[in-house]
């Protein structure tokens, strides 16, 4: 899987309340509706700034806080192709893989807002086309590659009837 798009840059400790606030996520399963409010408390116009395929780039501990799976789903349904961060909070990381949102761990200090990126999930590299720089990415654990290749945990279960890792 290879993606190209522009960078929307955020800081450290972007929590899941910022990604999708509780006042929205408790009342609907319509992820397209939730997507309109993605990152709203950090940037009220964020949804309107996204072009399909863009990347969210954070600092360390991206996705900390609550276990809400609506967070990766809202990002995915806002047409963000992948999230890049120096590190991810544990539950968000699992939720992203389980729901098929690519997450990439790399040195995001080398990426600025607006940079054009190419992300090759299989090759494990991030190319910053604006800066002409290749940034090595930490490979996903094999268990997660298996789940991601099956399209997420639900298709994995559908295929095998349980965990087959």
């Amino acid at each position: 899987m290879k993606f190209e798009g522009n960078t929307h840059k955020f800081g450290n400790d972007v929590n899941t309340d910022y990604i999708i606030a509780g006042r929205y996520k408790f009342k609907t399963l319509d992820m397209k509706e939730l997507a309109k409010h993605v990152m709203e408390d950090l940037d009220p116009d964020f949804y309107h700034k996204i072009n399909a395929g863009d990347f969210i780039v954070g600092g360390s501990n991206f996705g900390c806080g609550s276990s809400r799976e609506q967070a990766p789903l809202a990002i995915k349904h806002a047409d963000i192709s992948a999230v890049l961060a120096k590190s991810f909070a544990r539950i968000f990381y699992r939720n992203a893989i389980n729901t098929g949102l690519p997450v990439v761990e790399c040195d995001t200090d080398l990426i600025d807002a607006g940079d054009e990126l190419e992300v090759d999930l299989a090759g494990g590299n991030v190319i910053n086309k604006t800066k002409g720089q290749t940034i090595p990415a930490k490979p996903l654990p094999p268990v997660m590659i298996k789940i991601l290749n099956d399209g997420g945990l639900a298709p994995h279960f559908k295929k095998y009837g349980g965990f087959n890792l």
Binding site: G22, K25, A89, T99, L153, G162
Partner: protein, 418 residues
């Protein structure tokens, strides 16, 4: 080679000798979902072609986050949960029963050595009972409901050794805030924590739950404690399950061992907008507040309500402060009624709301206005957390909240404790 508590629990539940960084598929003893996460889990369960849950006796759904429902959207999701629970024979704790992290331990389904997953990040609370319990998302929860299993990367452990005894007016909430401030919000990401030492062993179960509850605020996967007589006495009341306590081996390998002496600890406050933005209360004393919140899965237990009431007895909440109290469970609500605690709080000026998450998650029960300051016993102070991104949330202990509610500004509770 010796094992940590979590390595032992994951070994027993996977049939392997689990050591840090291994991947294991483990049997799960109990599974919990709440109303913010269960609806998506039910969808995922259907997408997995799930027919029945693996063991209905080992599953509970809890309606606590928006409870009772504040609007028709939430009502539709609650209905979905009730229908799922009924059709699968799963127990559902409906409105008024309490916060998941109080009703699950009260149900007696968690004991030392248990492995529990919950679709709520604060599921780490039951670590205080010497159980490995951790938060997962909705799809992982569905996988657990179908198979009774979950995959885990065995985490390394950070051990916190807390020596000394908490001084007068300083509580377990102050201690865990201090530790989070020390290691930061991602100081224990992907890791388990063990809390040990005299300062922990002399705490009540109520106080211990507060500490394990907030392990996630340093990124931890688990907040474990060893079981002792305090644990056994608590379990005698709530559980008739047989269990085997799990102790770490003396030669267990830790990622880090951090030692603290708590004897001179001051009350602590987490300032807006991150939980690790912690300072001694003296740095923020006098900050005006508009709302005070006592409750939640962190500090809504009987001991917390009593501690607040001891300060509020024969006093009044400041006229410019709204004081919202949410007991953590129906049982606690009843006990606080019977012993006069609730009467004291209400006479002082408290508005008592339905047992549950109360105003913590920003859906109802006390959304602050623009520019307002809130002091709360909850575990998160993120911008927008309580439903308004223009409000400011400070976190402190139940007595700090009570003292501040009286004066209308952040107040050192020791001013009120003789």
């Amino acid at each position: 080679m010796g094992q940590t508590i979590i390595e032992k629990i994951l070994s027993k539940h996977s049939g392997l000798t689990a050591k840090a960084n291994d991947i294991v598929v483990a049997q799960v003893d109990f599974i919990m979902g709440q109303d913010g996460t269960s609806p998506l889990a039910i969808r995922a369960f259907e997408n997995m072609d799930g027919k029945e849950v693996f063991d209905p006796q080992k599953v509970a759904l809890v309606i606590d986050h928006s409870s009772p429902s504040p609007n028709d959207g939430v009502s539709a999701l609650h209905k979905l949960m009730r229908e799922f629970a009924r059709s699968k024979g799963v127990h559902l704790y409906d409105i008024g029963e309490g916060v998941c992290h109080q009703v699950v331990p009260e149900s007696g389904k968690v004991s030392p050595g248990s492995l529990v997953i919950g679709a709520d990040s604060h599921t780490c609370t039951y670590g205080a009972l010497n159980a490995f319990s951790t938060g997962v998302g909705s799809t992982d929860l569905a996988g657990g409901l179908v198979s009774g299993k979950m995959w885990f990367k065995v985490p390394e452990t950070i051990k916190f050794v807390c020596r000394g005894k908490l001084p007068r007016g300083v509580y377990s909430k102050d201690l865990i805030l201090y530790l989070i401030g020390n290691v930061t919000a991602d100081g224990a990401t992907y890791k388990a924590t063990e809390f040990t030492g005299e300062a922990i062993s002399c705490l009540s179960m109520d106080a211990r739950f507060t500490i394990s509850n907030m392990a996630i605020e340093m990124g931890a996967k688990a907040g474990l404690m060893e079981a002792d007589d305090t644990t056994f006495t608590w379990l005698d009341r709530f559980s008739d399950t047989e269990f085997e306590p799990v102790k770490a081996d003396l030669d267990a390998t830790y990622a880090e061992i951090k030692e603290f002496d708590v004897s001179d600890l001051e009350p602590q406050i987490a300032r807006p907008h991150t939980v690790d933005n912690v300072c001694p209360i003296s740095e923020v004393v006098g900050t005006p507040i508009n709302q005070a919140v006592l409750g939640t899965c962190t500090n809504g237990r009987l001991e917390d309500l009593r501690a607040a009431a001891s300060i509020l007895k024969n006093r009044k909440v400041h006229p410019d402060v709204r004081f919202v109290v949410a007991p953590a469970s129906k049982l606690i609500y009843l006990e606080a009624m019977q012993d006069g605690t609730l009467q004291t709080l209400i006479e002082a000026g408290a508005a008592v709301v339905t047992p549950g998450c109360g105003p913590c998650v920003g859906t109802h029960n006390g959304v602050p206005s623009d520019g307002e300051n809130v002091i709360s016993t909850a575990n998160r102070n993120f911008k927008g957390r309580m439903g308004n991104s223009k409000a400011f949330i400070y976190l402190g202990s139940p007595v700090t909240v009570a003292a501040s509610a009286i004066t209308g500004k952040i107040t050192d509770p020791r001013d009120f404790i003789k």
